[in-house]
Amino acid sequence: MYQYNEIDQKIVDERVAQFRKQTQRFLSGELSADEFRPLRLRNGLYIQTHAPMLRVAGPYGLLNSKQVRMLAHIARKYDKGYCHFTTRQNIQYNWPKLEEVPDILEELASVQMHAIQTSGACMRNTTSDHLAGVCVDEIEDPRPYCEIIRQWTTLHPEFDYLPRKFKIAVSGSQRDRAATQFHDIGIHIVKNETGDIGFRILVGGGLGRTPVIGQVIKPYLEQQHLLSYLEAILRIYNLFGRRDNKYKARIKILVRETGLEKFNDMVEAEWLRIKDGMELSAERVAAVKTHFTPPPYEANTDQDTRFAEQLANDKAFATWHKYNTAPHKVAGYQAVYLSLKAPDTPPGDMTDQQLDAVADLADRYSFGEIRVTHRQNLVFSDVKQGDLFALWQQLDSLKLAMPNIGTATDMICCPGLDFCSLANAGSIGVAKEINDALDDMDYLHDIGELKINMSGCMNGCAHQSVGHIGILGVDKKGVEWYQITLGGSSENEAAIGERLGPAVAKDQVTNTITTILDVYVKQRLEDEAFLDMVNRVGIAPFKDRVYANN
């Protein structure tokens, strides 16, 4: 994992000093609330329903155990003993005090963390595949490129006041686990005919009010041109993106209104003028790659025979293993998901004790590294198969072993009305209700792979439009209603969900979901996943049943 050098450390330290000064100028009245707003946002600080919310960056989802202990410490000292992992691999605190935020940032900087550009109309945290470097379908490890992009985007002087927020995601695998088609820029690592590594660049994807699937703007970009090409896109967007209406300010609207072809011409013309001046050298890439070399894997870990016995003898362990682990490129190792979707906790939340315990487990079982997934779970990327049983037992006692990864109760859910000042409707409470209704694990596993995403308003922080089942909170004359969509996907075969019909009342949401699942169970073909069935039959059978009584 990337380790800061003196320059990196200086940048985060100076950023803390800068924000301390800005906060003082605000508190003393030298800066107005309107002037302070964009400054605090660029340090992850929102003013929310109850208190400020601080969003801390998880650079492309990678954390080490020391950093996780710091997250625990901050949760204890400055918050109410917990924090929340987001769909963009970041960490949120819901109860910090404004005056204390500079101190929090200083503590974060001591472990090479920060909250730079985690909100505001600027380039945000670059996200990536949570299985980067260990998955079996990888073309090349995306993390070095993510780090290069992280550095380039951080404190970029020209692009910090964009028309709107700007998100970049990178995938290095055949299977897209980073929702790259729904980012302002999506980057796929590809190999050309001669075996060279380059990038396919997508532009104009996004979720929120107007979900759009990104379009390919550059089928193959040579490695050395990565940053010049990003700079060309950003310059065109900064100059020509709409600023008259914040709902039309994302790059997807610029691409749509300009037309991809013309937009492409503009970017290409700009790029040709700058590309030779800012080539990424092979040495630079190689130097960053040295931070992402494989950990010291032990040989012959696949010879361990206890593992097969444990799988055979313990049904609960076998079930957990089936759902909460992923194959690893090194024989005898596996990646392990820590489910943050236990029935009684809001999706993505963790307490300080859990964080501390997870840090210890990571040190013991996974080379001290922890990853955040874009479905709000954690991953230990490098666990020996012989350790899985012991790890499972400990995760179970921490309530982090719910065998539900990829199933209906592995919901993505935004904070909704409970914390977010923009919300139209509650989401955490509804998630709990659905969870309670699906407490029969055999039924849950029978339903199989299913992604339910729920957002408390049109902003769509929980990506409901790409959920296999999407739930969107809407406000009707002060009452909470929920719109249901079916058939969305943020993976390779990206799709935006289709609306099932009129919104349903709050007390009908769970009922609606179980009805939909019932239709699926009755009408699916053998081994047909939910999404496949929706794609085969459309929404009509679901619609008929859900609205049968109206």
Binding site: I7, K10, I11, E14, R15, A17, Q18, K21, Q22, R25, E30, L31, E35, P38, L39, A121, Q151, W152, T154, L155, H156, P157, E158, F159, D160, Y161, L162, P163, L227, R235, N238, L239, R243, R273, M278
Partner: protein, 150 residues
């Protein structure tokens, strides 16, 4: 009025003027539209010439005139309009503008570090009190991740 130029506090000698009352002498700056319309006449003016840009102005047509211009002002309608950062970069990098590049209007001292990086070398404070804050903020960072103008 005092401003900051090249890190020093100096007295401002420039006046922004509109078409209706353009004085015949003195250091004046005009809008881009005014410049494009009355260029020939303005070039006869005794005193230095400047152009005031607002976000949305295109600088490519101005590029050919840069030798006749000693000041370019970037006038912020509000601090969040980042187009002026790109205009500054274009003027310095693409069009090789060497004269004074000045931020004015509704920006805040907290933005001058980035502005200086994209080539802005003079700052008109929103309030006279801001001079010290601007000078302090110019030193916000001692290292950078990416190349720009400075």
């Amino acid at each position: 009025m005092q401003i900051i130029k090249d890190n020093q506090i100096i007295d401002n000698s420039w006046h922004y003027v509109n078409e209706a009352d353009t004085p015949s002498a003195g250091d004046i700056s005009v809008s881009l539209a005014h410049w494009e319309k009355d260029k020939a006449q303005l070039l006869q003016h005794t005193g230095k010439l400047g152009v005031r840009l607002v976000p949305g102005d295109a600088v490519d047509t101005l590029a050919q005139d840069l030798n006749n211009i000693q000041l370019i002002e970037l006038d912020f309608p509000d601090l969040a309009d980042g187009r002026l950062f790109s205009l500054a970069w274009l003027l310095r990098s693409r069009y090789g503008y060497q004269g004074e590049l000045r931020a004015t209007g509704n920006y805040v001292a907290e933005q001058v570090f980035y502005l200086s990086r994209v080539g802005v070398n003079a700052f008109v404070p929103q309030k006279p009190d801001d001079l010290a804050a601007i000078q302090a903020c110019l030193g916000d960072f001692s290292v950078n991740y990416q190349a720009s103008i400075n």
